[in-house]
Subunit: 187 residues, 4 copies
């Protein structure tokens, strides 16, 4: 069981880390800054998180609220809701610098890569699997659709705009993307 002291210290560190991530991005985040802002010892961070990658991942999760995937009755509605939530969460300033750094780290450190994917990919896949199956049941989309590629088609463009092309993640983008994904998946 975590003691009262541990919990408070943990919160202070995650809070400081989250702030600094927003301010400077992942690459320019330093353990020393986090420790100083949280009035914590560096060793406490290394003891509990083991390094920058896991701390940053935890700090992101700490500040992140979950995206909800309501059952709107149509695949278009479900999809739009998830995309809108995703874009709203990722579009805020500073998020790109954060995610890009974590992404880079994930390529280098396999253990961290796995944790990153669990947090960023698998959990979000689960958001849509229900909606996809319901849509198949309603005959809105082809029953033999390739599920993994469908998810790539949905999430890929969002990450691509955010990190690679730098184009805006606005409502119009969500609209057009929803429409084109529907067309791609139509039976």
């Amino acid at each position: 069981m975590a003691s009262k002291r541990s919990a408070a210290c943990r919160d202070g560190i995650l809070c400081a880390a989250a702030e600094l991530l927003e301010e400077h991005g992942y690459l320019d985040l330093t353990i020393e800054q986090v420790a100083a802002r949280a009035h914590a010892g560096k060793q406490t961070i290394y003891r509990n998180w083991g390094g920058k990658p896991r701390l940053a991942l935890d700090a992101m999760a700490y500040k992140a609220s979950t995206i909800d995937a309501p059952d709107t009755g149509s695949f278009a509605g479900d999809l739009r809701a998830v995309l809108a939530g995703l874009v709203g969460k990722m579009g805020s300033p500073g998020k790109a610098a954060m995610l890009g750094g974590l992404l880079a780290e994930a390529q280098t450190d396999p253990a961290f890569g796995q944790a990153f994917r669990e947090a960023m990919v698998q959990s979000r896949c689960r958001l849509l699997t229900g909606a996809v199956e319901r849509a198949v049941g309603r005959g809105e989309i082809a029953a033999d659709i390739d599920r993994p590629v469908l998810l790539d088609l949905i999430y890929g463009p969002v990450w691509y705009r955010l990190l690679v092309s730098g184009e805006p993640l606005d409502e119009g983008f969500v609209d057009v993307l929803t429409k084109q994904v529907l067309a791609a998946a139509a039976p």
Copy 2:
């Protein structure tokens, strides 16, 4: 004008940088390592490239061959050719670590971000604009299709698999993606 000596030195440095990028990824690449392997002074690197990001970008370009976008007579053929070329280039081991690091740097440093996008995004957009317009002319895809989102739909899933989800970039993926993009763009 660049002398013979400058050119030889430039090549040695780019070659060393490209090797180290493949070996250790972008984040773990250091100027000192590059200088040591190329038997060059650090100053020579800073004089000619100004820092790690621009050196890495140049080193990538140095080793990279271009993707060709043949006119196969059908949008499906054109698209498959470009995707196959892209997947072939990006799928090689070590590329992910390289691109992830550059991506991270691009979020932090705006000047580098612009150079990175010119090299990685705009040049590749141009590869497909011709094919898209030809397809529109042939009536294969809707004339009022949103071009930017269509490109996101094509390139996004590739980058997403490479850097985010880590799923394999194989031929089957190219097939299914081609089919779904065609469906999405159909008139």
Copy 3:
């Protein structure tokens, strides 16, 4: 009142401290090592001794047997007996590292300096004051001899060899030193 438990714990700590002093010297002695070897908590040590210097001093006293100063009937005999005892105690390997560290600490921390001098200097002065006065009574040494400097002349060379010059503290040294001190003090 000290309980049975306290006493056992105290002994274990002093024993561990004494062992580690012999093994690594004073400078490389750490409270954490002592606590670990004695299966004791660090706090127990800080509560009872307050820090490394006082613990080390106590640990030395714990393991040290006293030097006896027999009345041999002649100043030469008394002096030789004390010097032989001193050399025997100090000459054992590891003692130099211990004493050097304590000496250094004594220069920095005045309170500890006082305790150190009480343990290392004043008690040993008392060993010889009786012998000196007896020798004066017998007319072996000058009555107006400067007592403090005489003691410096006896103890100084021993410490000097042990800590400064590193020359051996052997029986020959005791012989010659005894002879020269006698000559210096002769009436």
Copy 4:
């Protein structure tokens, strides 16, 4: 050959180290403090000195003027001159803390011990060997005197007072010590 820059940097670091040695003693001297006060990088210190012990030794030598051993025509005069010089040099406040720390280090680290002894012992032995031989020639002291123990008899009490007993190193002490050493060495 040392460049201009190296020399200036070397001087600044030695000067800062010497100041801090006087202020805080050897044990409380830190490389970081020295680097900060000298506006130097820590690596410069580790590159040139390799650690605290050698830096401190060099800093002492940097500030120390040499003791001269004039030929006064009598052993008493020669001896008094050397002792007065030694006491004048070692008696200044802060020196005890410095020497005590170096002494402790010398016990632990054999390589440093050798360097320390060369600087503190052998050079000072040479100061007196000439005077001793001249005194033997003049018949002032016994020809068969044990030279090493004679030097212990001279230097030992000085170090002992300084570091162990803490008694004052004043002129009276020099007088009495000179007299007693003469008596000890008389033929």
